[in-house]
Amino acid sequence: MNSSVIELNGLTKRYGTFTAVNQLNLSISKGEIFGLLGPNGAGKSTTILMMLGLTEPSAGTVKVCGINATVDPIAVKRRVGYLPDDIGFYENYTGLDNLLYTARLNQIPEEEAMARAIRLLERVNLTAEAGKKAGKYSRGMRQRLGLADVLIKNPEVIILDEPTLGIDPTGVHEFLDLIVQLSREEGITVLLSSHHLHQVQQVCDRVGLFVEGKLLAEGDIPTLSGKLFPDEAFTITVGVRFVDNNNVEQEKIRLVKIVEPVNGVTVIQFKEDLLQIRCTCDVTALIARVIIENGFALTHLNRKEFGLDEIYHHYFEGREVHGKAN
């Protein structure tokens, strides 16, 4: 656990009787891109505020870069860059001036600040707009300027709160690419909060699922689906043409009987004429062979791995039947 940059231990935040964050344990290691995924009001922003020492936790500890954020927020904020979800700039200052102001607040010497600001503006593709007033920037430009603003202090960790909110799809793609690039090149640890699962899936090494103040599960996507759906990480859908059309029911029972003994299969059910098989590991090839060897004509075969979509539906939208997501 020595290499962990962010460590949360039993972190709890209560507002009156409402518990926004409940007993949160989390550790993020260096250079990792971690996605904090959860619906609105799940306590993501509150957790981030506690990491920066902007809000005091009711219980538990936050350690960022080995420093307790509640006790010494200044030291933490020197190492951590934070991009709030709806970032604002001083509108009658130019983009460059906004960056320089942040640099001055971080006590970066004037010439170095200028050099860094120019380099970063180039990096986020805003060189042409550097002299424009920040009030005239579009949403996507503001977000990119925000990234430059976060990076000007050479942070070890960057925390992005809903960074892709309100940017168009190409913009989102470029923005996420930029984040991945930065993380890989400079070894910056990234914590990204979002309720946009596809984007999280696209860039994050690990994901933490956050609902009603609790971390339900964490891990990379396969681990996560394994954890959340321990008996049914994969769903295989099989369609066959029966040899004896007069005796469909019997044929169906025979089919189930031959699939059942395959290792890893947990649930078998017919959905109209298609057979749904849930299993803990990928046994598609095996099932296909068994079916063909037993004289059925295989007409349809589809394997589905549980993605974040299913996970999301499963947890956020009222724990409905898993099959619905298919």
Partner: protein, 325 residues
């Protein structure tokens, strides 16, 4: 603070970086320019009336005759109020204008969250805002005061005495203090209210209440509790003192009490005087020390009100949770 400065000698301390930025924002803002214009206008206006009436005001045997120069600040023919009344009137407006959107504009623009993510202490934000506005106000008032003195010197050709000069400096300090009170009040409102308009209106409402309605209410109260006609002297004095003390709850009353005493050395008391007290007194102006002594309670009251407002805003700002807009 020392430690922070030593870490990096080549760059300024973040607090002064913030003060610098706030100063720049104030000086460049339209509202400051407009107010500056307004104040300059009234300043010249009152200077003009006092200069034109100066010759008429000189009488033989006037006890305040030696304080010729101070008349520049207090003299009026009734068409335009004198300089110190103008400051008492426009000062609050200036204080409110510089403070009413101090915190809530940063919050609604989303810059407060970004600012708080920088390695600075939270109180730097509010301290820097206050310091910057105070620097602007002091510079403005001292510049105005010295300008009036300089112009007066050129026009009437009589240099001020050392005491007159000191009295004017004290008057300017008092004005800055008075505006600082309104500044702090409006900063407090800017923390309490999310909308800049609400906080501005509330501050102006408080100002209007104190300058217009409070006096009306007090006169109503005074009529209601007026002692009967045959009341003894003791009772009447008590009554008068009570009404005066009620009036002195208002900072503008404190300010006008203090400025009149400082600028008109002939003022010997701010309360009722009995015949016994006046008997035997030589009608001469008070020395500066005595005038200062006379306004000491007013001065303390103003400072206390300012500090109270600042403490309130400090307290509520430190406890405020900063979320995005």
């Amino acid at each position: 603070m020392e430690k922070l400065i030593n870490i990096n000698k080549t760059s300024a301390h973040p607090f002064w970086v913030m003060v610098n930025k706030e100063l720049r924002d104030h000086v460049r803002s339209w509202r400051f320019i407009i107010l500056l214009f307004l104040i300059l206008l009234t300043c010249f206006g009152s200077l003009y009336t006092s200069v034109t009436n100066l010759s008429k005001s000189i009488k033989a045997n006037d006890p305040a005759g030696t304080f010729f120069f101070l008349k520049l600040f207090t003299l009026s023919d009734g068409t335009l109020p004198p300089f110190h009344v103008f400051i008492g009137f426009l000062g609050p407006l200036l204080g409110i204008a510089l403070g009413f959107d101090a915190i809530n504009s940063e919050q609604s623009a989303g810059t407060l969250g970004r600012l708080m993510a920088q390695p600075i202490h939270r109180d730097y934000v509010i301290n820097a805002k206050f310091t910057a506005a105070l620097i602007v106000i002091s510079t403005l008032f001292f510049a105005l005061g010295f300008m009036v003195m300089g112009l007066g010197l050129i026009i009437i050709g009589i240099p001020p005495t050392a005491e007159e000069f000191l009295r004017i400096v004290f008057f300017l300090v008092l004005s800055v203090l008075y505006v600082a009170f309104w500044l702090n009040l409006s900063i407090f409102f800017s923390i309490r209210f999310k909308q800049a308009a609400t906080s501005a209106l509330t501050a102006i409402a408080v100002w209007l209440f104190f300058t217009v309605f409070y006096q009306i209410i007090i006169s109503l109260v005074a009529k209601a509790i007026m002692p009967a006609e045959g009341a003894g002297q003791q009772e009447i004095i008590q009554y008068q003192n009570f009404i005066l003390n009620l009036l002195r709850i208002v900072p503008s009353q404190l300010f006008s009490d203090a400025t009149t005493t400082l600028l008109m050395p002939a003022v010997r008391s701010l309360g009722p005087l009995t015949m016994e007290q006046v008997y035997g007194a030589i009608p001469s102006p008070l020395p500066l020390g005595q005038s200062l002594l006379l306004v000491w309670p007013q001065l303390t009251g103003l400072i206390a009100a300012t500090v109270l407002c600042f403490a309130l805003s400090y307290f509520s700002f430190m406890r405020k949770e900063i979320r995005s807009r």
